[in-house]
Amino acid sequence: MSEKNGNTGLRLKTGLAEMLKGGVIMDVTDARQAEIAQKSGASAVMALERVPAQIRAEGGVARMASPKKIREIMETVSIPVMAKCRIGHFAEAQILQELGVDYIDESEVLTPADEAHHVDKHGFKTPFVCGARNLGEALRRIAEGAAMIRTKGEAGTGDVVHAVKHLREITGQMKGLTVLSEQELYAAAKELQAPYELVKMVAKEGKLPVPNFSAGGIATPADAALVRQLGAEAVFVGSGIFMKDSTNFCDPAEAERRARAIVRACTHFDDPKVLLEVSNDLAGAMKGLAVAAIAEGDLLQKRGW
């Protein structure tokens, strides 16, 4: 691949992420949910076998969704369709690319397939989004070819606390880099365990070289507004729309109300008047699971290297 082609590829990949900014990407497990998501104003959907709350509750090995199910969702909606592959599972990624999904999420929500390596994403035409808890992790994923970064948060909990933590961590570390001298950036790169060229780029621009979205525990319009105000350029909402609790789906009409409210909150994230209005109409949110009550070893966010 020539240098020009490589650059063209990355521009097309981040280009689609640009189109998703300000919007809400919703997890869906079938065509009917995908339709509700699109009707409610989702800018894209993530096709899954089970949403993170179910994966967490049911246990077992979580893998890429069945291509048949993903295809059914692709045929139902006109908005972009994303799907998840396991960390390091480049064969699942190859299958998803062949299937023609619009974005691949190399996700800690699924059971990792490699304990040391992530997918080499440069070799793919389909763009990748990856989770990160801090700037070093984000830059390592970008070095591997990720075209979009999202915070990991703690998926499937409905507790926004770690999405906030990771977003603050990443933005704080970026701010910190902007005041360092060129000399100091070498040590910073070593500390972040990230490539020097990317660290230098962030120090100069004060932001990531790819779009920076938020995910993991966002369950209400207020949660969406919170992460948007903290600098997230768009949000992923997983279990928060279609789940009543960790194992049961909520009523579809309720899901649609939640979806619409979160979409509006994402656009009007800095207008408390609208945020009140959209929050008023809701009967409640998913029951959720406090992240602080989860045993350290059960945290999904620790997956990824």
Binding site: T8, R11, L12, G15, L16, E18, M19, L20, K21, G22, G23, Q38, K39, S40, G41, A42, S43, A44, M74, S78, I79, P80, Q97, G100, V101, D102, Y103, K125, T126, P127, V263, R264, C266, T267, H268, D271
Partner: protein, 188 residues
Amino acid sequence: MLVGILAIQGDYEAHGRVLEKLGAKVRFVRTPEQLDEVDALIIPGGESTTFLNFLVEHGFLEKLRAFVRAKPTFGTCAGAILLAKDVENPPQESLGAIDLAVRRNAYGRQNESFIIDVESKFGPLELVFIRAPKITRVGAGVEVLATEKDDPVLVRQGKVMAATFHPELSSSARVHEEFLKMARNGTK
């Protein structure tokens, strides 16, 4: 002159960056009232179904329909879909500001997105197509400014311009310069 950018969702910031580089004053438009403050409008790329869904609420769509009849407007990709008279794949409501039929996602999915250089009425242009639509019919009063193969990709009718590609993601600001000229003149 204040140029508004519809900022419901999509790449409104990319448009903002190009306009500011060209020295234009920019305002993001998220409510119908904010339309009253701007002299021209850009409808960016993004998801046209998401835009429509949002606009249908609170009389935004009617207000926007009136705006695009009166003031210079430029739509890119999803914006072009919104401005067209007819939309296919699937059919959906639109503003009918320019006499076109547009087919959504006509090149395919993201893997079929591409960048290409062409000659146009504005000189050489780099066209960035992302899950792009195609113009399938051009009305008599519509001027074609650029084509890709045989497909019109940049068109103008009166005060309304539409592109099926993303000039806001191009390395050159040529198309935005032309829109700013249009906007300053108030008419074509």
